[in-house]
Symmetry: C2
Subunit: 343 residues, 2 copies
C-alpha cells in the first residue's frame, strides 16, 4: 500500500491518477491510498476501471500550496492531503508516501511525522542518476547545505543501503564528490569524511574522491555530497539537458532534417528514451523513520509513476531496518576514531 | 604579442602550432613568442609559411610534466617553457601567456611571476559558458575551495569586468550560485556576499541567487561561485555532455540511422558545431597582475586556438587596469558595511 498526495505538483490529479495506472500495469499487486479532493480524484479515475479497484480515496479539500513558506505550511498542515499521506505511513496504513508538492514543506512535515532515525544527524535527499556505465545514487541533493564529516559518513551509509536495495549490489562503491583541480584536495569537511570512510567498515566500498563528471561516467555506485555541492551538480545537469534539447530544436528545423529524422526514426526513439529525464524523477528522503518520495512538481503521468515505483522498491526491501543497524555499527566505530586531516 | 608554452598538454606542439595558425587567420595582426624545443617547433612550423613569419621561437628543453605536484614543479620551474612564457608577460615582451600544461603548477607560477593584484584576496579561474540565451562567464572554477563573502564580492568584480571586456556589455547581470531547495537560503558565505552585493556599487548589476540550471539558461551574464561549487558545476556539465554523446553513439548505430543522418547532414553539422566543447576551451586566471589562460590539457588545434583568442581579447582591452580601479572602489565601500545575514 502506497499513500499518495493527489493535490501536489503543477498538474495534481491529472498526472497523479494516470501515473498510478502506469505503476499498476508494472506492479499489479500494489494498492494505493489517494489523498485529495474526492470529486476530482473520482473524475480522473472514471476512465480507469482497473485502477479504481486498486485505489482507496480519502477526501480532503485542504492542500499545501507550492509557493507557501515551509514554516507557514507547517502551521496550517493539519488535514492537508500531503500531511495525511505521511500520517498514513506513520500509522502503518501504507508502506511509503509520495507527493509532488512543495519540497520544503514535505521535508519539514516528513521530519515531524516520521521523526529522524535514531543516531542520524540529518536526513538527506537522494535520487537515481543516469550514467555511461549504468545508474548511480546521489545524495544529498539539497536537504542540507554544508555539513560536518560525520554527517557525510552517515550519508555514505544511507546511500550505500539505498544502492543495495535499489540495484541489488552487495558492496556498492561509494565516492565523495570533490573538486578536481590538482593542487586542491577540497574543503576540510570532505577530506575529514574521507579519512573516516578509509578506516571504518560500512555497507559499501569507499572509492575515494570523485569529480562532477564521474557522476555521469558511473565511476561509483553512490555519490556522496553535502547538499550544497549535490544540489549544484543536480541542477547543472538539468541545465545542460535543457541546453542540448534547445540546440536540437534549433538545428533540426528544415524539411530535410525532418525527412532524415523520419528515416532514422527508431534511433531517435531510442535516443529519446535514453535521455528522457522523466525516467529519473523522484527524490527520496533518507534518514527518516518512514519512506517518502518527492516527485518533481512539473511531473506528468510517466514521471510521477517513476517516483511511485521508487517508493515501492524502497518500502518493500526493509531499507529502514538495515539503515538503523548500519548507522549504529558505524557510530560505534567512529567513537574510536580521531580523523587526521592534512591541510 | 602572445607568449605561448608549446610543451604543455597531451599533444604539445602538434596542437599548439596548428592552433596558432587558426588564430592568425582570424587575427592576422597577432604575433607569438613560442617557448619550447626549437627542433620540434620548427618541424611543426615547416608546413606553415604565414605562421612562421608571425612566430618567434625561444628554445628550451625544460618542461613541467602534467603529473608533477605543483610544489615540486615550482622548485624546478626555472627555464621551463611554462615559466618562460609567464616571465615574457612580466617583462612586457608579451601581453598574455597561454599554456595547456599542469593547472596547479601554472596557477602557482602565475602567482609568483605576476603577483596577485593589489587588494585582491585570491585569484580565480574563469571560463565562458554556453547558454540558451547566450554565453555567460563563470568563476571560480577551482582555484580556491570555500572562500569568504568579501572574496566572493571580489569575484563578482573580476567576472563583471571580464564580461564587459569579453562581450562588450556595459552593465553585466551578476548572479551568485546557490542551492535551490525552497527552505534553504544557502551557505552563510553566499548569503553574506549577497548582502554586500545588494548594497555596493560595482561594475555590474546584482541579480541575486542563481541555481545550477541558470548557468545554461543564460539567466545572468556572470555566475559567481566559490571554487568548490564552481568546479562541481563545471565538471558536472562536462559529464552530462559525455553522457549524451555516449547515448548518441549507442542510438545511431544502424544503416538506416546513418542514411537518416546523411540526409539531415546540415542539421547534424549545425548541432555538432553548437555543442562542440572545444569552442569553450580556456580558463582565465583573474586577479593577477598579468593575463594567463589555461588551455585544457587534451586540447586539439581548434580548442587551443580558442584559449589563445581569449587571451588576445583580455590582453587588448585593458582588463587589469579596470579591475584595479573597481576593486579599490568596492573595498572602500565595504569598509562602511556590516553585512547582516539572516539564519
Amino acid at each position: 500500500m502506497i499513500a499518495v498526495d493527489a493535490m501536489g505538483g503543477d498538474h495534481g490529479v491529472s498526472s497523479v491518477i494516470p501515473g498510478l495506472a502506469i505503476v499498476l500495469k508494472l506492479r499489479p499487486d500494489v494498492r494505493f491510498r489517494v489523498y485529495g479532493h474526492r470529486d476530482r480524484i473520482e473524475e480522473a479515475l472514471s476512465g480507469q476501471p482497473n485502477l479504481k479497484s486498486a485505489v482507496t480515496v480519502i477526501h480532503t479539500d485542504k492542500k499545501i500550496e507550492s509557493d507557501e513558506k515551509p514554516s507557514a505550511a507547517l502551521r496550517a498542515s493539519k488535514g492537508t492531503s500531503m500531511r495525511m499521506a505521511l500520517e498514513a505511513v506513520e500509522a502503518g496504513e501504507a508502506m511509503a508516501a509520495v507527493s509532488a508538492g512543495n519540497t520544503g514543506a514535505l521535508m519539514a512535515l516528513a521530519k515531524i511525522v516520521f521523526k529522524t532515525l535514531p543516531g542520524i544527524h540529518r536526513p538527506a535527499i537522494a535520487s537515481v542518476m543516469p550514467g555511461i556505465k549504468g545508474e548511480s545514487i546521489m545524495l544529498d541533493l539539497g536537504a542540507n547545505v554544508l555539513v560536518d564529516a560525520e554527517t557525510l559518513v552517515q550519508f555514505a551509509v544511507l546511500g550505500a543501503v539505498f544502492a543495495k536495495k535499489q540495484k541489488k549490489i552487495e558492496n556498492p562503491r561509494v565516492g565523495l564528490l570533490n573538486v578536481g583541480s590538482e593542487d586542491i584536495k577540497g574543503p576540510e569537511h570532505i577530506r575529514a569524511a574521507a579519512e573516516i570512510l578509509k578506516k571504518i567498515e560500512f555497507p559499501g566500498i569507499f572509492h575515494g574522491f570523485v569529480e562532477g563528471d564521474d557522476i555521469m561516467k558511473g565511476t561509483v555506485d553512490v555519490i556522496v555530497a553535502d547538499g550544497y555541492a549535490g544540489n549544484v551538480a543536480l541542477k547543472t545537469a538539468e541545465g545542460v539537458g535543457l541546453l542540448i534539447k534547445h540546440y536540437f530544436k534549433e538545428s533540426f528545423n528544415s524539411p530535410l532534417a525532418w525527412l532524415g529524422a523520419m528515416i532514422a526514426y527508431s534511433s531517435w526513439k531510442k535516443l529519446k528514451r535514453r535521455t528522457d529525464p522523466r525516467l529519473y524523477n523522484g527524490g527520496v528522503f533518507l534518514g527518516l523513520n518512514g519512506v517518502c518520495v518527492k516527485s518533481h512538481g512539473g511531473a506528468d503521468a510517466l514521471a510521477f509513476s517513476q517516483a511511485v515505483l521508487l517508493a515501492v522498491r524502497l518500502a518493500r526491501y526493509g531499507y529502514i531496518r538495515e539503515v538503523i543497524e548500519d548507522i549504529n555499527h558505524v557510530s560505534q566505530q567512529e567513537r574510536f576514531l580521531t580523523p587526521e586531516v592534512e591541510d
